[in-house]
Structure formats: C-alpha cells, structure tokens
C-alpha cells in the first residue's frame, strides 16, 4: 500500500470525525447564515438560490451589537481575573513549605465542579434571595433580602464574571504551578540577595517564567467564556445578554425565519475567536522574540 494512503488511513479515526462534525457543522452554519438549507424555502429572501447577507444585516439592527460587546467584556474580565489571581495564587502555593503545599491542592476543587454547578453556587450565594442576602437580613444589614444589592442580573455581568473567574481559577493555578515547579527556587534567593523585594521577585522572576502558561490559560478561558452557554443560561442578563443565549433564542424561541440570523451570529463568533487567537499568538510571539517577557 502506498505510504500516503497508509498515513491517511492512520489519520482517519481522527480526521473523519473532525471533518464530519467540526468542518461539516461549520460549513452548514455558514451556509445557513447565507440562506442555504433554510428551513423556510417558501420565503424568497431566505431560500434564494444565490447567497444572501440578510441574516448578517438583520443582526446589526437587533440586539447583537450590544450583546457582542457585553460578551466580550464578560469574557475578557473573567479570563483576566482568573489569570491574574491564578498566577498570584500559584506563586503563593509554590512558596509554601512542602507539607502545606500538599494541603493547598484544595485549589483543584473548582476543576471538578461542572460549570452549571458553579453557576448555581453563584446564584445561591449572591442572588437577592440567596445566602448572603439572608445573612445580611439576619444581621440587620438590610431590611429585607430583596434590599440586598443586585449583584446578579443588574446589567453589570458581575455574576457571570464571578462564575467564570471562579471556575477558571483552579485551571490557571494548575497550569501555572506546573510551570513554577520547574523554576529553580535559588533564583528567588539570588534576586533577594541583589536587593529585590517580594513584588519585584514576583513580577520580574516568577511572572515571566509563567507567562506562556498564563497566555495559553487566558486564551482558553476567554474562548470558553465567550462562547459558553451553561453559565449564561442561569446567570445571564437579558438586555444585553450573552451571545450564546441570544443565538439560542434566535434559533429556538422565535420565528423560524430568524435561523439564518442565529447562524450568522455563530459564524461571527467563530470568526472573531479565530481572529482573537491569531492576534494573540502574533503579539505573544513578537513579545517573545523581542523581550521574552510574555
């Protein structure tokens, strides 16, 4: 059998599902966003033989723009928060004496919690009928639980950010700690001897060492938060809402005629994610080549 065929056959178990599910889904979504394979062939605008951009055009006259920027904000804020806190906590854990370091594996708990469970925890803790509101009421800090500040569904996205940040924290610590465990601890001693305080040691020695892992963590967490559905399903505000919820509503809860719009939203999300990753990779690579600080 020719070598090329053998290689293709060996790749088949990986390539066929990828082609069928990922590429197939992608092509189908893009096609539906352009009016092909429409569920409503009777509507001329949506069943045109030629491609139509009406799905995309409709998006920009609806909730999409506000929803896009809100999602971007939530994803950036939560991924940044997880990454910053995770880096710092990984450094703290790394600096603990051996016995305490083992006990500090408690940070892995959020890793085993499903996203939906984290969403429920945030809901139970921070909603106006939740645990903190009840405690505030019991302590006389608020007259009724409903007087507790509206941390969720207030338009600020705080609940979403908190849920994604908490869920992502363990992941960042895990990756950053793995990298730190390869850092020679005597570098810290060397820096301290040269007069560096704890802040300089962290920012100039530990952080550059973790930078690549933190960059990868940030990208993964950002993309998950940008496209995630489970946490927004429980915690997302309605106006503007997260893109995943907007897309879901466009696809299932309204007119069938909105389906090209839903597919257009998905396609834009995918394209944005791809551009975001490419942009990040380029910046990180440039920084690595010039300064090696990130």
């Amino acid at each position: 059998m020719p070598a090329k065929t053998t290689i293709l056959l060996r790749l088949a178990p990986l390539a066929i599902p990828f082609l069928a599910v990922f590429c197939g889904g992608l092509v189908l979504a893009a096609a539906q966003s352009l009016g092909y394979f429409s569920p409503l062939p009777a509507l001329p605008a949506l069943s045109a033989d030629a491609p139509t951009l009406s799905g995309y055009a409709a998006l920009f006259h609806g909730l999409f723009p506000a929803s896009f920027f809100f999602t971007l904000y939530v994803a950036l804020a939560s991924a940044s928060l997880s990454t910053a806190l995770g880096a710092f906590m990984a450094y703290l854990v790394w600096g603990l004496p051996g016995g305490f370091r083992a006990a500090a594996t408690i940070y892995k708990i959020p890793l085993i919690l499903p996203h939906i469970a984290v969403a429920f925890i945030i809901l139970i803790l921070f909603s106006q009928s939740g645990f903190l509101a009840s405690v505030g009421h019991a302590l006389g800090l608020v007259e009724t639980p409903a007087d507790f500040p509206a941390l969720l569904y207030s338009g600020s996205g705080l609940g979403l950010i908190a849920a994604y940040a908490y869920k992502g924290l363990g992941f960042v610590i895990l990756l950053a700690y793995a990298v730190l465990s390869r850092l020679d601890r005597r570098l810290i001693a060397a820096a301290r001897m040269l007069g560096a305080g704890p802040f300089i040691v962290f920012t100039r020695i530990a952080l550059p060492h973790m930078a690549q892992a933190l960059g990868a963590s940030f990208i993964i967490l950002f993309l998950y938060a940008f496209g995630g559905f489970d946490i927004p399903y429980l915690l997302s505000e309605s106006n503007p809402g997260m893109l995943s919820i907007l897309t879901y509503n466009l696809y299932f809860n309204r007119d069938l005629a909105n389906r090209p719009e839903a597919m257009a939203a998905l396609t834009i999300m995918l394209l944005f994610s791809a551009v975001f990753v490419a942009l990040y990779a380029r910046i990180a690579s440039r920084m690595k080549n010039t300064e090696r600080k990130l």
Binding site: D184, L187, A190, A191, M193, L194, R204, P208
Partner: protein, 329 residues
C-alpha cells in the same frame, strides 16, 4: 576584621556537616575554602550568605550587611535570570534599589566593559558561553557594590583550559573592586592562583589556614597534605634527609611531594620496581623494599619494572630548554 565566625556547627538530621568552624576574614581579602566534595564548604558559604542558619556558634560582621552593602553570592551554576538580557541581568540589583536610569546605564555599561561582555548586552544568558556566564554573574553581583562577595565553586562549570584564566581574572577584578571575597572550590590550582589566603576544610572542620605558599609547605596534617596532591610516605628506615622546605614529617615517617623524590637506577639499590603508571603529570611506581611494598609518586622518568633503584631527595633542577611542538591550526 571584616567578619569572624566562631565554632559554627550545623547538622542536617543526625549528620553533622560543620563541626565547630572558626574563620576570620579581613576587609579586602580573597579567601578560598577548599576541600573535597561533602566537606561542608557550601554549607559554610550558605551560612555566610544568610541562606542557612548555624545550629550553634557565632557569625559576626564588623559592619553588619545591609541592603545598601549586602552579601551577594555567585552560585555554582550562576543562576542568571533566563528571561532577562545580559544588560538587564547586570542592572537587576541597581534597579531593585530604584537607582536613576542614567546612573544604572552608566554603571552597567562600565561593568560589562570591565567584564568583557559589553558586546553581549542584548543577548540572553542561554546565548553565552560558560566563561561569559560566569563573568556576567560576577558583574551582576559586583554592580550593587556588595560588602562581601561569595563564590560557590566558581570553576566547576568551566572548561579546564579556561579555569586558570578565570582564576586570574577573578583575582584582578577582586583587587580592582576591593570587595572582600570568600570562595569555596575544590579546584586547587585555581584557588592557589587567585587567593590571598586558603583554608582547607576536611570533614566539616577547617584543617589549616594560611597563604598558598604556607599551606603548600606546611599543610598542617596528613589528610590536608594528601588533599593538596600526592605525597610519598618514606619509611624512617630509608633515612632520607630532605633539604629546607622539602617535605614534612608525621608519626616518624617523612612525607615528600613527587617533585622532591627521585629514583636512580642502582644494582645495589634498596628498592625493586614492580610496576609503573603515568598520570600525565608524574609517575606512580610500585616498588618493593626489604620491609614491604611502597608506592612512589615521582617525576622521575626512565625507570621500568624490574629495575633496582635507590630513592633520593632531588635538588632543584636547572631549567631545561623547552621541547618544540607543532602548532595546531
């Protein structure tokens, strides 16, 4: 006195590593603590650096180290910061002191010039040779103006042909900067080249301290003498009489360095050569005496197994013309 440690002890678990070490170092001195691996040299250095605490004993500085005049150690593997350039590494200690940018640039450029790595200012540590890494590590340590510089095995990661140059360079730099320096090493020749004073540490204790010449002539004990190089134990029955500065006695036996002991072919000689090996610097002869076997380290050439020889004390040999060798391209 710059600093003095008195009766320092240190154990790890049940294993004593330092057993009452006392050492006084004067300001501006370069003292090398030499000894075999596991003798406790690095533990002593860590205590001087403040990275470890003694179990007992006292370490006293005439002027206690401060952030302005710190104790800085250059580690065996240099521990350069891998994400920083040569310039940034050298500037690290100055930046940590919030010095002005212009002043940092001036001082770092001067230091890189002096340490002959100015052309590598924008390179990263993994782009440097072993010698350049060492010079950068010393430049980084010197830049903040330390009160005490500690060198941990400064020659361990250098090619053999670079060690002597590095030793001479460290000696020059130490004198130039006037920084009191303590080095620990097991590279004897380099320690002798660069040090004003040497302390031999054996099994957690300082066996002897003195100038390189003093130590060489009188190592103070058999173990220390053996650490400094091969010695011949000549039984009293041979009745050899050394000249001034040649050998030393211990337990009734005479001890001589290879350069002081010769073998001369003599059919009436007291020793029969049974084996010979060349180490590159001297010969090791296995000889049989009337009262038992003896191992002889000597520079003497031309003796082969089966020869009967007489042992004698060598006088200073007149200088011989060097043997011409072919130059390599």
């Amino acid at each position: 006195m710059f600093f003095a440690c008195r009766d320092i002890t240190k154990s790890y678990g049940n294993k004593p590593v330092l057993k009452g070490v006392s050492l006084t170092v004067q300001a501006g001195e370069l003292v090398s603590v030499i000894g075999p691996s596991g003798a406790g040299k690095t533990t002593l250095l860590n205590i001087l650096a403040g990275l470890d605490r003694p179990d007992s004993g006292e370490l006293r500085f005439a002027v206690p180290p401060s952030k302005k005049r710190p104790v800085i150690m250059v580690f065996q593997d240099y521990l350069l910061f891998p994400s920083m350039t040569v310039f940034e590494n050298a500037a690290f200690g100055l930046r940590a002191r919030n010095m002005k940018k212009d002043e940092i640039r001036r001082r770092v450029c001067d230091a890189l010039d002096y340490f002959q790595i100015a052309d590598k200012a924008n390179a990263y540590p993994d782009e440097l040779s072993g010698g350049q890494k060492q010079r950068l590590a010393i430049a980084r340590a010197m830049a903040p103006g330390p009160s005490l510089l500690l060198l941990d095995e400064p020659f361990a990661n250098l090619d053999p042909n670079l060690k002597q140059d590095a030793a001479a360079f460290i000696k020059r730099a130490q004198r130039e900067f006037g920084v009191t320096t303590v080095a620990v090493t097991h590279d004897l020749a380099e320690a002798f080249v660069m040090s004003g004073r040497i302390a031999i540490m054996l099994d957690g204790a300082l066996a002897v301290t003195g100038t390189p010449e003093e130590i060489h002539k009188n190592p103070g004990g058999l173990e220390a003498a053996r650490f400094l190089g091969p010695v011949n134990r000549i039984p009293a029955s041979l009745a050899l009489a050394p000249g001034p500065g040649q050998g030393f006695t211990s337990g009734g036996a005479l001890y001589l360095r290879p350069q002081d002991l010769g073998l001369r072919k003599d059919p009436q000689g007291e020793a029969l050569v049974q084996g010979r090996a060349f180490t590159g610097r001297y010969y090791i002869y296995e000889v049989a005496l009337a009262d038992g076997p003896l191992t002889v380290h000597s520079l003497q050439n031309g003796i082969v197994p089966g020869d009967r020889v007489r042992l004698f004390i060598r006088e200073s040999a007149p200088a011989a013309p060097p043997t011409p060798i072919k130059e390599t391209a």
